[in-house]
Amino acid sequence: MDKVFKALADPHRRLILDRLFDADGQTLQQLCRNVDITRQGLSKHLTVLENAGLVVALFEGREKHHYLNPVPIQAVAERWIAKYSTAQLAAVSALKKVLEEQHDDDS
């Protein structure tokens, strides 16, 4: 998970993920046209994203296509956010209970 956070910490890399969301499966050449950084820089960033599992590269013949893989981000969301949604549900149900009890008192 450290790798995911490190990979996402860079604005260029987040931009690359946005561009892949717009059009998945782009080659380095295609990405170069859509992201304003040098080819070498782009290539390095893609390696970091691949190592973090955020980008999956597949070869189609000699062409390397890059795919956005959101599964690690989903894992991050579940690690932290799913907990809160459960807590929220508990809070809502507790609130409902309190309000209903008050209502019972009023009547």
Partner: protein, 149 residues
């Protein structure tokens, strides 16, 4: 040139056979795959169904295109859960399972969508959640908690 449309990948601390079972038996899919029950002989050419309950309404159906347990499963994907998608030509889902040291890599490729596919838009949010649920189930024995939404 045909290139895959969506590629999802995760590493799961479980043997390939276990992941194969999780993909192909209702006992498992009912716990992580939108609570659906999968059914098939898993022989190429035979039908596949995902039902909301055993013997109940079909959410997705298709055909087994390739089956090489425990490493590769390819099925056609015909969505019935959305009325707007029912008449759409089926797309294709490929599951690739590779055993590595102490874990397995699961890669899901969803491709061959028809032009202006309704299914395509819904898929983006669906698979990551399913895959995360499968990983959680196999690694911890527990499915993910309901999202509460």
């Amino acid at each position: 040139m045909t290139i895959p449309e969506f590629v999802y990948e995760t590493y799961i601390r479980a043997p390939a056979e276990k992941i194969w079972d999780a993909l192909t038996t209702a006992e498992f899919t009912s716990q992580y795959f939108h609570a659906t029950y999968v059914e098939s002989t898993w022989q190429p050419g035979d039908p596949v169904t995902y039902r909301y309950e055993p013997g109940g309404t079909i959410a997705v159906d298709g055909k087994v295109l390739e089956a090489e347990p425990p490493n590769k499963l390819v099925i056609s994907w015909h969505v019935l859960y959305d009325d707007n998608a029912k008449h759409e030509t089926p797309s294709r889902v490929s599951f690739h399972i590779d055993a590595l040291a102490g874990q397995s890599r699961l890669r899901i490729v969803h491709d061959r969508f028809p032009e202006n596919s309704v299914v395509y838009d819904g898929i983006r949010s669906g698979w990551p959640w399913i895959i995360a649920g499968l990983k959680s189930l196999l690694e911890t024995g527990e499915p993910l908690p309901p999202t509460g939404s």
